[in-house]
């Protein structure tokens, strides 16, 4: 080993160390932000290490510099722009898009490495061509699935794509098996030297990614994204075999494994198994035929004014935010309402269900954005025993996460999912636009209970009216 080798080696070791610390730190609230910066720094370090290594050995041709600068400028600029502009409500889609682009990057570099081999002059006694070919093929396969799957996931989350009914037929498994087998065949051809089958591999694995992701219900999308994130780690590790870089392999393997664990943790939180997420199809379409179509018999609806009067008289209020709040972008208006209540000496806490919204932890992000103090956010297990001692619960655009069926009705598809026991409180106001169901498509027994009143309307609109009413009552004006 000569000097540039040693320097690069030390830099790579350091980068892996920092990345490991970063991933570890990201899983703890206290250290998450620093950990993210640390990981970003490690990535920068690894680039510097690579560039200086080539500068110190073979040199980097001017032409390469041009393409490096163009590629990185365009990518970074667009990425930064999106990251700064995107509203917090669209986080799930954004993460899916980023992830898809990561997969695309692996896919492209693998195609490039296959069509224009650049690794031959590497080192004597280095990788045998066979292993090189296998790594490239894995990179292509996993990269294409990651890309197409993520893009489908993004489109569904954005609402650009719904879950077409025909994707729910059992035959879809057959079609996917055909795609899978085709990919496998193309894979085998490719590693036995048949270069042209590369396109077959690209197409078949892209279709496989689409075919697997399309039937999955939007409710399960975050799990899918997390899984695809794990795949993109695997693709990176495979690319590491192609370019002979331990750093890539370790980083890719760490992301792949960590993603798998995270996926598992999420599945647990949503009371679903990974298998049923991937192959069970969409939850809603399974169930519209069964309990989903029950009729409501005993709905009490009330005006915003009544709601304000009840709130004024309360000592303790719990707010249950849900997906509807996110859609209505009403988090800031909500914050104004709760500020008023607090100024009147009313105790307000927020009950955060782990899968409220469209992504685990989504509600925390949204409420944090609206400056809600961290200590007012309570997790489900902490807040559930507090409902009986609560005067008013405001259910804001939440539905499935407050459905008592999950506890009482063994025949319900929701049965077993942990929910917030809002019905234990004295009075429950449910603010939503109409009687339509939540993500699961299931009737909500809560709405029929005598202590529940519906306040119909868009969450943001209702909340602004509520501010007006509270002002009229003189709440929060001392």
């Amino acid at each position: 080993m000569n000097l540039p080798d040693i320097i690069k080696f030390v830099i790579d070791l350091l980068a892996v160390l920092l990345l490991a610390l970063g991933i570890k730190g990201l899983s703890k609230v206290r250290s998450a932000r620093e950990a993210n910066i640390l990981a970003a720094f490690a990535m920068l370090l690894s680039v510097v290490g690579l560039l200086s290594y080539y500068l110190g050995t073979s040199g980097i041709p001017t032409q390469s510099w041009v393409w490096i600068i163009v590629g990185s400028l365009v990518g970074s600029l667009l990425g930064t722009l999106l990251a700064k502009k995107v509203p917090m409500t669209s986080m799930p889609e954004t993460v899916a898009l980023f992830n898809g682009f990561g997969g695309m990057s692996s896919l492209l570099v693998a195609i490039g490495a296959f069509l224009f081999p650049f690794n031959e002059g590497a080192k004597a006694g280095s990788l045998e061509p066979f292993i090189n070919d296998v790594s490239i093929s894995v990179s292509i396969f996993v990269g294409a699935i990651t890309f197409s799957g993520s893009i489908v996931a993004m489109a569904k989350l954005q609402g650009w794509l719904s879950t077409p009914g025909w994707t729910q037929v059992k035959a879809r498994h057959f079609v996917n098996i055909v795609f899978g087998v085709t990919s496998l065949l193309a894979f085998t051809y490719l590693i036995s030297g048949n270069i042209s089958s590369i396109w077959l591999l690209v197409i078949a694995s892209t279709l496989l990614g689409i075919g697997v992701t399309l039937p999955i219900g939007g409710a399960d999308m975050p799990v899918v994204i997390s899984l695809l994130n794990s795949y993109s780690g695997i693709a990176a590790a495979a690319a590491g075999f192609v370019v002979d870089s331990q750093l890539l392999i370790v980083a890719g393997a760490m992301v792949g494994a960590a993603g798998l664990i995270l996926t598992q943790v999420m599945c647990k939180g949503m009371n679903r198994s990974l298998i049923s997420v991937l192959f069970g199809g969409s939850l809603s379409s399974q169930t519209t035929t069964s309990s989903g179509s029950g009729e409501y018999v005993n709905i009490t609806s009330c005006s915003v004014e009544e709601c304000a009067l009840t709130l004024e008289a309360a000592n303790r209020v719990i707010v249950v935010p849900g997906y509807g709040l996110a859609v209505a972008q009403a988090q800031h208006t909500l914050r104004e309402v709760t500020k008023k209540l607090e100024q009147n000496g009313i105790e307000v806490v927020y009950a955060i269900h782990p899968v409220a919204g469209r992504m685990p932890g989504h509600m925390n992000v949204l409420l944090a954005e609206a400056d809600v103090p961290y200590e007012q956010l309570k997790e489900m297990d902490a807040v559930n025993p507090e409902f009986p001692a609560t005067d008013v619960v405001l259910v804001l655009g939440a539905n499935d996460v407050v459905n008592p069926q999950a506890k009482n009705d063994k025949s319900s598809p929701l049965y077993g999912m942990p929910v917030l026991d809002v019905q234990e409180a004295r009075t429950v106001f449910v603010i939503k636009r109409g009687m339509s169901a939540g993500y699961s498509g299931i009737k909500n027994d809560l709405f029929d209970l005598p202590n529940t009143s519906m306040v119909f309307g868009d969450a943001k609109k209702v909340l602004s009216e509520l501010i007006g009413e509270l002002k009229d009552l003189g709440v929060g004006e001392k």
Partner: protein, 98 residues
């Protein structure tokens, strides 16, 4: 590098990844996902290598450059967006545990 030493590295890296993430509070699921996502853009190193090693005027230059662009979109955007989310949590760092 021999192939088997690369495999060792793969095994140990995976085991490490499995161990690194312990009990993640649901609050952090989203940022953790997007942070890990950004790290997976480490493929940018492969893209860089491709561009540097490409023959003059080879189409590999363009492919590599596009790949680099996608990767950096992922990396830079991912870290920024994660930071944006985490910044919101840490606004009131003093009262984290009540």
């Amino acid at each position: 590098m021999n192939f088997d030493s690369l495999l060792w590295v793969l095994l140990l890296g995976s085991l490490l990844g499995l161990e690194l993430i312990g009990k993640v509070p649901p609050t952090l699921h989203t940022p953790l996902m997007s942070g890990a996502n950004a790290i997976s853009g480490i493929t940018m190193l492969a893209a860089l290598t491709a561009i540097i090693k490409a023959e003059p005027n080879s189409p590999l230059l363009i492919i590599g450059s596009i790949s680099l662009g996608f990767a950096l979109f992922n990396v830079v955007g991912g870290f920024f967006v994660t930071d944006r989310m985490l910044a919101m949590f840490s606004r009131k760092p003093t009262k984290k545990n009540k």
